[in-house]
């Protein structure tokens, strides 16, 4: 128990670290910035895994230790509690009852059997479960919230199950993303993803179905804030349409356990570049940025030309220059900066960025939708025949989720039992004395003792009234 708590404490400190330092999986740019600012410290942190705390080997070791320590203390505890639950109720001794804080003793004119009968009825009416303990004919044992201990058991087991669910889901599942242009089809396979992290035991069991983005719609509030964005998709498996659905934020698509979540979107202008009559490039290109103005690059290696472009769906102009007025296609324009030189295509590089270190700016220009022009500073013609949108999906396969949710449920049940139920016990002992008898009542509660004191006082009051005083 103590070991588990210490591990949890170390885990908490590590987690704090992870929120204060930029983390590579969520914020790679932040990590880069840290490296530029404090190179030595960053190198040390890198080795220690501080830029990916939650994925570092020592965090996983910590989880493993937690698992082992939880298991090693849960197993014997579970056994002990189950044994106690099924054991016969313990009987109380006269001394034990008389010394309890909640204890009362009085005489009654009734015979012992009648007293036990009436006291039992009274306790049952107050939702106590009443049993005669082993071999003690003149005693009653009453109990409420007997299963409270199970609450703690449920809760701690749920942590263990949660850990299993998380690790199982991560190791046989995957987590990826894909950006799909309207009209395009995504094939569910390793190469289809823009990014993918597969679990160690996933084993490349991709499903291979086709996921087509028919149409994408984004709507906006007058303030320019997005109101909703919706992808209309069709899933085809083995030539058969198996799902047709609109995916929106908070509205995913699930097929064969693989879930598609709406996560981002943007413009995809189709740009055609030609030399004389030979088309060099003709494809929609994914642009990133805001809906009012996004940027992208066009690379034409055949001509050693690269274009940095901005797309404004609603170009407006004032004395300070041009700007994007709204996210709607009211006055769509492409703005271009044309570079000539070495594209450095042989180097590993980001397709969405232009490395202009070996290039020169040769011209600037703009192009309206459905128009074409000579690309400034070159012998090429460029046209802008079509504007499309792309939709970005978070795509995940996590078979551990049912286990995780089961653990959540179990944890809640456990906590409710532990903190909202209290275990109360009471004993009634009768000492026959001819036709009369004497009664000893005692009670005990492990938690919420003050409330039990009141309850016990009330019970004894009723007992004195119904069992003690007048004979009916």
């Amino acid at each position: 128990m103590r070991t588990a708590l210490i591990i949890l404490l170390i885990g908490a400190v590590a987690s704090i670290l992870g929120t204060l330092l930029p983390q590579a999986p969520q914020n790679p740019a932040g990590v880069q910035g840290f490296f530029q600012q404090w190179p030595t410290m960053a190198a040390v942190f890198q080795v220690l895994g501080f830029f990916d705390v939650y994925g570092s080997w020592w965090f996983q070791v910590l989880l493993l230790l937690l698992f082992a320590s939880l298991l090693s203390c849960l197993l014997p505890r579970t056994k002990a509690i189950i044994r106690r639950l099924f054991a016969p109720r313990p009987s109380a001794t006269e001394r034990f009852l008389a010394n309890l804080k909640n204890s009362d003793r009085f005489e009654t004119p009734l015979p012992a059997e009648e007293v036990l009968e009436r006291a039992g009825r009274l306790l049952r009416a107050h939702r106590f479960s009443v049993t005669p303990p082993n071999g003690q004919p003149h005693q009653l044992c009453a109990e409420k919230g007997r299963y409270r201990e199970i609450g703690g058991l449920f809760f701690h087991w749920s942590l263990l199950i949660l850990l299993v669910g998380v690790v199982y889901g991560k190791s046989v599942g995957f987590d990826g993303s894909g950006n799909i242009i309207e009209g395009d089809t995504f094939i569910e396979g390793h190469l289809g993803y823009a990014n993918i992290t597969e679990g160690k035991f996933f084993g490349e069991r991709h499903r291979g179905f086709a996921f087509k983005l028919n149409d994408f719609t984004a709507t906006y509030h007058p303030s320019g804030m997005p109101e909703d964005f919706i992808s209309d998709v069709t899933v085809t498996d083995n030539g058969k349409v198996v799902a047709q659905q609109k995916i929106r934020v908070n509205g995913k698509l699930v097929y064969k356990g693989i879930k598609f979540y709406q996560s981002s979107y943007g413009w995809a202008p189709r740009v055609r570049v030609a030399r004389a009559n030979k088309v060099l490039v003709d494809a929609p290109i994914i642009f990133f940025g805001k809906a009012e103005g996004a940027s992208g690059v066009v690379k034409i290696p055949q001509a050693d030309v690269g274009i940095e472009t901005w797309f404004l769906p609603d170009l407006r102009e004032d004395q300070s220059g041009v700007f994007g007025g709204s996210p709607y296609l009211k006055n769509p324009y492409l703005l271009m900066r044309v570079y000539k030189g070495d594209l450095r295509s042989s180097m590993p590089q980001n397709v969405y960025q232009l490395d202009t270190s070996q290039m020169q700016l040769v011209g600037q220009g703009s192009l309206k939708l459905n128009e074409s022009t000579t690309l400034p500073g070159t012998d090429l013609t460029v046209s802008f025949p079509e504007i499309k949108e792309w939709s970005g999906f978070q795509i995940a396969y996590d078979p551990g989720i049912p286990i995780v949710y089961f653990a959540f449920t179990l944890a809640m049940i456990g906590l409710i039992i532990t903190f909202y139920i209290s275990h109360r016990r009471a004993w009634v002992m009768v000492f026959p004395n001819g036709r009369k008898s004497e009664l000893l009542v005692g009670g005990i509660a492990e938690t919420n003792k003050q409330a039990f004191e009141l309850e016990f006082a009330k019970l004894v009051g009723l007992m004195r009234e119904k069992v003690g005083g007048k004979v009916a």
């Binding site: 128990m1 708590l5 949890l8 404490l9 885990g11 908490a12 987690s15 704090i16 992870g18 929120t19 204060l20 983390q23 999986p25 969520q26 705390v53 939650y54 998380v166 987590d175 509030h221 303030s223 804030m225 997005p226 109101e227 909703d228 964005f229 929106r248 934020v249 908070n250 995913k252 879930k259 979540y261 996560s263 978070q394 795509i395 995940a396 996590d398 989720i401 995780v404 949710y405 959540f408 944890a411 809640m412 906590l415 409710i416 903190f419 909202y420 919420n448 003050q450």
Partner: protein, 298 residues
């Protein structure tokens, strides 16, 4: 609508302040009439505050729990409503100044976060918004009350410690030596602390409150995880807000273990409760202000 909401908000803020002054005055001078005025002002303040929230709801077109201003304002009104229910049933104004005073501070805090009402961003359009945020607000309110009890325990306990060993004669002689201020503190006039329950009872109350709030906090975090799975594609992503809610949870879990398993009582437990509440405040405010993440809503 928006303007009405702002005006009603200010009215509530001022009324809470006046009400707090009334409650404290009532304590200092035992003027029952002033206490009644304090309650009256608090009730009118709550009505105005509820009006502010309702008009904000209409202006924004969604339940007003989508940003820090709305969240903090909701926390303040919940605090006031629960306090008034408490006062109505117990007929005790002991916690009046404390409740209205904290509500006033939260209103000021809310004002710092003020943002125009805006429609919901798509990520928040889900019934999980209400489930998750309300659970978090309610549980943080309850855990906050647990913290207040812990603070009161420390104050009361120190006072009990100081007044216990002194014989009666000495206590009576003291005003002549050290003046009225010491007398007021030492127990000749019970004042605020004197009216509070005994230190042990406050300690227990603090534990009971935290034990009540902890499962709710857990539920709120779980609701958040399930919602994150619905909207973002994973139930846990080590987003700073998520991580800090877990850290807060761990501190409170530590507190409960310390009390139940290791038998901690009194001051060490009160420190742990304070640490838990500090982590909670960090989760709610510092994470949004200083660390950027998926939970950064205005």
């Amino acid at each position: 609508m928006e303007n009405i909401s702002v005006v009603l908000f200010w009215v509530a803020l001022v009324l809470y302040l006046l009400s707090a002054v009334g409650y404290f005055f009532y304590f200092a001078f035992r003027q029952n009439a002033v206490g009644t005025v304090g309650t009256f002002l608090a009730v009118v303040g709550v009505l105005s505050h509820l009006g502010s929230i309702a008009t904000r709801w209409i202006a924004a077109g969604h339940s007003p729990i989508a940003n820090m201003y709305e969240y903090t304002s909701l926390l303040a009104v919940l605090l006031m409503v629960s306090y008034l229910i408490f006062e109505f049933f117990t007929k005790s104004k002991v916690f009046g100044g404390l409740a209205t005073g904290s509500a006033f501070i939260f209103m000021g805090l809310a004002r710092l976060f003020y943002a125009e009402p805006t429609p919901l961003m798509p990520a928040l359009k889900s019934y999980w918004l209400e489930l998750h945020v309300f659970t978090m607000v309610i549980s943080s309110g309850i855990l906050g009350v647990g913290f207040i009890f812990a603070v009161l325990y420390v104050l009361k306990q120190r006072r009990e410690e100081r007044s216990r060993p002194r014989p009666v004669k000495e206590a009576k002689a003291r005003p002549a030596i050290a003046g009225g201020a010491v007398a007021a503190y030492a127990g000749d006039s019970p004042g605020f602390l004197g009216r509070l329950p005994a230190a042990d009872a406050l300690d227990h109350l603090s534990y009971r409150t935290i034990a009540f709030g902890f499962p709710l906090w857990t539920l709120g975090v779980i609701a958040g995880a399930i919602w994150a799975e619905q909207a973002w594609g994973r139930y846990w992503g080590w987003d700073p807000k998520e991580t800090w809610s877990l850290i807060t949870w761990l501190v409170y879990a530590g507190y409960l273990h310390a009390r139940v398993t290791a038998g901690w009582r009194g001051r060490p437990a009160a420190w742990l409760a304070t640490l838990g509440f500090a982590a909670l405040l960090f989760t709610f405010y510092a994470v949004n202000l200083w660390i950027s993440g998926l939970h950064s809503y205005a």
